[in-house]
């Protein structure tokens, strides 16, 4: 994968919480159209990396460039505008809102946010609304056709798997360049996870230039969908490469199992 242009690039990225070092001068390069598995034991800084990239935390040192632009200091909303969207470890949907609303939250940059447009020009607003409805519906249908008929029901009543699906739709609706998946399997059965993954791959089939970084504990998932893995431990990169190679790496096994 030498010659591909880097989409996301982190250099010497560090983040400290009080005494705890969550990221320790991390270097990491992700090329376009890759699917990267970001793995490592709990507290090895995977989620922190996502939070730093998406501007929820500011980095203490180092820089992050995305698509050639420096986004180290960029606030969350700017990072999204640049084309990065994410899911969360603990599902963060707005429960009282409808499925459609939740997905539309993810579509902020494609919706006309002008006061005048929204309040006065209701006819054109209606047009935009109907378009958005169609695209959202189409996306949901990929994951679960049943949900597509319940677009205006609150998500609060839905099971975990459906919530995950909607969360992923929310992340995909804005057609991002980079998708950060934070433990999509959390709180789901093995089969559910499988199903979800194939749906994600399906979406990617349609949209070739979608790059994905996935944090996951289910090694089955990692093995199945990633082109390449990056292993973190105590905030530093300890290994990198295809899953097979990584799996046999001594350091990695030590990190995970604590055996030499």
């Amino acid at each position: 994968m030498a010659a591909v242009t880097p989409l996301l690039e982190a250099r010497g990225l560090s983040k400290r919480f009080g005494g705890v070092v969550a990221l320790d001068s991390l270097d990491l390069v992700v090329a376009s159209n890759e699917i990267i598995g970001l793995i490592g034991p709990n507290g090895s800084g995977k989620t922190t990396f996502f939070n730093v990239v998406t501007g929820i935390y500011g980095a203490d040192a180092g820089r992050v460039t995305f698509d050639g632009a420096d986004i180290t200091k960029a606030p969350s909303c700017a990072v999204y505008q640049a084309g990065i969207s994410r899911t969360f470890q603990r599902s963060r949907l707005s429960l009282p809102l409808s499925i459609f609303d939740n997905i539309m939250i993810g579509n902020y940059k494609h919706l006309n946010q002008g006061l005048w447009f929204n309040l006065v020009r209701r006819a054109s607003f209606k047009r935009e609304f109907e378009e958005s409805y169609r695209s959202a519906r189409a996306l949901v249908e990929v994951f679960e056709p049943v949900l597509a008929d319940r677009m205006f029901e609150p998500v609060v009543g839905l099971p975990m798997i459906d919530r995950r699906r909607i969360e992923i739709c929310r992340a995909l609706i804005s057609a991002p360049k980079l998708l950060l998946l934070d433990e999509p399997s959390a709180g789901m059965t093995h089969d559910e996870t499988k199903e979800l993954m194939s749906d994600i791959l399906l979406v990617r089939e349609r949209n070739k230039n979608l790059t994905i970084i996935i944090v996951e504990h289910e090694m089955g998932v990692i093995e199945r969908i990633t082109d390449r893995c990056i292993v973190l431990n105590f905030g530093r990169k300890i290994a990198e490469g295809p899953y097979r190679r990584i799996a046999s790496d001594a350091q990695v096994q030590e990190a995970y199992l604590g055996v030499a």
Binding site: T47, N51, I56, F88, Q89, R90
Partner: protein
Amino acid sequence: MDVGLVAQYVMNGLMLGMMYALVAVGFTLFFGVLDIIKFSHGDVLTVGAFTALVTFAGLNALGLKSQWVDLGTMLVVATLAMALLGMAIARYLVMPLRSAPALNTLLITLMLGTVLRESVRLFYPQGANPKPFPALLPRSSIDLGSFNLRLDNALMLAAGVLVIVGLQFLLNRTKLGLAIRAVAQDEETARTMGINFSAVVLITFAIGSGLAAFAGVMNGLYYNEINFGIGLYLGVIGFSAAIIGGLGSIYGAILGGFLFAGLQTIGTVLLPFASAYKDVFAFAVVIAIMAWRPTGLIREKISERV
């Protein structure tokens, strides 16, 4: 301005600050364990003061005349009664609303405050009028130039400090305190540690409300007058104090209390012939502080998992 006058101002400020601090501490305790604002706190104070007054009348009816016995009994009765009231409030109004948005708790306790206040006004004989509160502390005073130090004020100040120190000890040195702090830190972990959550909450409310009763009696002794309205004002100020100090931090509450009193006093000194502006000044500063330190002077540790 001569020294004596300064001393006088300082004394006024300290007395106010102490009372504010006592109220603020209550707010902070409740917030600590339940992340809620119990707005009836101020009116619990009122009820406490009136309870003490009734006790006093009762004792007189019994023919007891010793100041110290009177005072002691009044304090005990009022504190215990309010502790019970506090537990009742926690049990029947606050706990049931845990799932509801925080504002509902704020509002329900606020309405409860109205109920308490109105009840005092309506059901205490002539409750609408200011009531004389017995001066049970030795009133002898030393005149130092234009500064006159009254023994009773000094005693009250001391008592207040003692109570706060005692509370500190309770929270930091005892098993109960540990439990309370554990719950305040993280309810779930506390439960897993085998702490009886609701018991801790009830006890905390008991303590907080007891403090309010104490503050109420202090207030009565200081002004030698109580009326059904005292709680509302003290409540709001105590709340502001707890907030600027930083909710959940006892020190913050104390700091906030004295800070607010200080602001009011400074306000009066700065604007001598418009001392009415002192509250405008004080609250303006409060707003400024919130802009400067959005989570209070002593920052509350917010750990948001993302």
